[in-house]
Amino acid sequence: METLNNMLYGFQVVLTFQNILFVFIGVLAGTLIGMLPGLGPISAIAIMIPLSYGMDPASALILMAGVYYGAVFGGSTSSILLNAPGISGTVATSFDGYPLAKQGKAGKALAIAAICSFAGGTISVVALMLVAPIMADFAVSFGPTEYFALMLLGLTAIASLSEGSTTKALISATFGLIIATIGIDQQTGTQRFTFGNPNLLEGIDFLIIALGLFALAEVCSLILTRKKKMFEGDQSVGSLKITRSEAKEISGPIARHSVLGFILGVLPGAGATIASFMSYLSEKKISKDPSSFGKGNIKGLAAPETSNNAATSGAFVPLLTLGIPGSGTTAVLLGALLVVGVQPGPLMLTDHPDVFWGVIASMYLGNVFLLILNLPLIPFIAKILYIPKALLISLVIVFCMIGVYGVSFSTFDLYLLLGFGVLGYLMRMFSFPAAPLILAFILGGMMEQSFRQALTISNGNYGVFSESPVTVSLLVISLFSLTFPILKGKLSKKGNLNNNNDLSA
């Protein structure tokens, strides 16, 4: 009953003309940016952040959240039509989505993707609504040691779960923490690594890093692929109709993978990409006819599409209730929230109920908007794929520049942005993942603070980290998560042949 009341309150927040407009702008921008191959949800959010300056916190988060799940929703369109996933969370969508499109059933594939995204998104918002308050209640008792251990777990989890070398991911994370040490120390007032430059006293703004490492670096990759046309000729997407038997067929995967996706989204480090792969592989495993996967099986399309959208709502659980993001994307969302003056965490439910329930209610509305945008309107929206890349690239560059200039009004920050763009591109070239860096950068300040708070309370005694059972178990899990890649390596060697087939399918 209480949840129901809170939900009604949330809808009260959302159902004003202004906030409905923001939900719509958010999901529309998310869909469009997510659809463009190359630009992911982090870039989408970072590009939209300047719009939220001066907004009240609830509206700002409603807008940004809309951009996030909108991007995951929209990313499937280019996966299906072009076999060029707009975002990494929709890579698994292309395995069966693109074959369907090649068979001339693009419309059907898009419709299934939209319905599954809608179902996955909506079911997991219900779960978010039920789980989040419980989690917040539990987290109220957390002290600095628990927070420190939790953030450490977030970092080790994202490092061990990211693609490629774990060492490289850990180096990215360490580098993010190092960048976070620039500026005036919060406890002693010591200037660290500012080199006497007044522009660095307050540290580097997270928007510069997000836009540089993601949007600008993605622009570099777009430049290199600019000659490939995004959309060939005048293909029409075909009929959007789904038969009754098909609807029946996808209802199983929807039920299974909205739960799986939500759980994986809540866990630190996982998120939409891992959720979609896990769902695809598990759906294939339990299927009676696994050989049809990869050739246009609608279950193989439904599973990852449900799962990645469910995972995006799941990712809001740790963000809203603990104030600790579990992925690069939610880290940027947290940064955006801090800009408008809200510190998410267990107290947010009592301090800012409008933000908390408002954003949850907005997700129901946003998913309805997305369904409308992605079902009847999809043939029109897919036209954005006709935009010549050369124009798109220069427009994105200007967006990044203005976004950064709008926060600081200093050209020094623009040079920094360019520098981080180059760094981001180099990281891609040498295959260092960028998500651990941004997560570590956002967590860096908070981690240091809780670490030093804990030691100040205990008067320098490190034993304080072994006093609480929650802290100890979190520390043990984060240590264990680092051994996960070694285990994974051994397992994949054993089942090498099978796995290779699975991922390249």
Binding site: P50, T174, I178, T188, S394, I397, M401, I402, R452
Partner: protein, 157 residues
Amino acid sequence: MLKSIDRKVSIVLFVFAIIYLIASYRLPAFSYSIVDADALPKGLGVLLAILSVLLFFQSPHEKPAFKLKKEEVAILLSVFGLILGYILLFEFLGFLLTTIIFLIVTSRILGYTNWKSIISVSLGFTVVLYFSFNYLLQIYLPQEYCHSRKEGLAWKH
């Protein structure tokens, strides 16, 4: 021995870690804190050094790095130069003029040939962006240098 790219990168990282450590040891001490401002940087420096050594020894089997064509490098560098020029001129020429020029030149260099749409998109986009920032978001983008100086003088009188 230095053939693999990862090894070169790991050496750069190791050198960076050492420089960072030296800088951390030079941070001034604050006498009233239990954990001083230099604690975390020192730890991070050591961690980065260890990780770069790990990377050095972990990198034997690696695919050859992706090679870029010379023309592509030239394009990347010229876009870099254009962005640099954009930043340099941004506050001097003002947002409107610099952005329009930047959009036209960059789209052209990236190989888009349709003049009509280049010019109309550049003009339209810039003007819409300018008005939405200045009036909707009330974030004031720089105007032309001479213009704003005149306004500044008028304000002083």
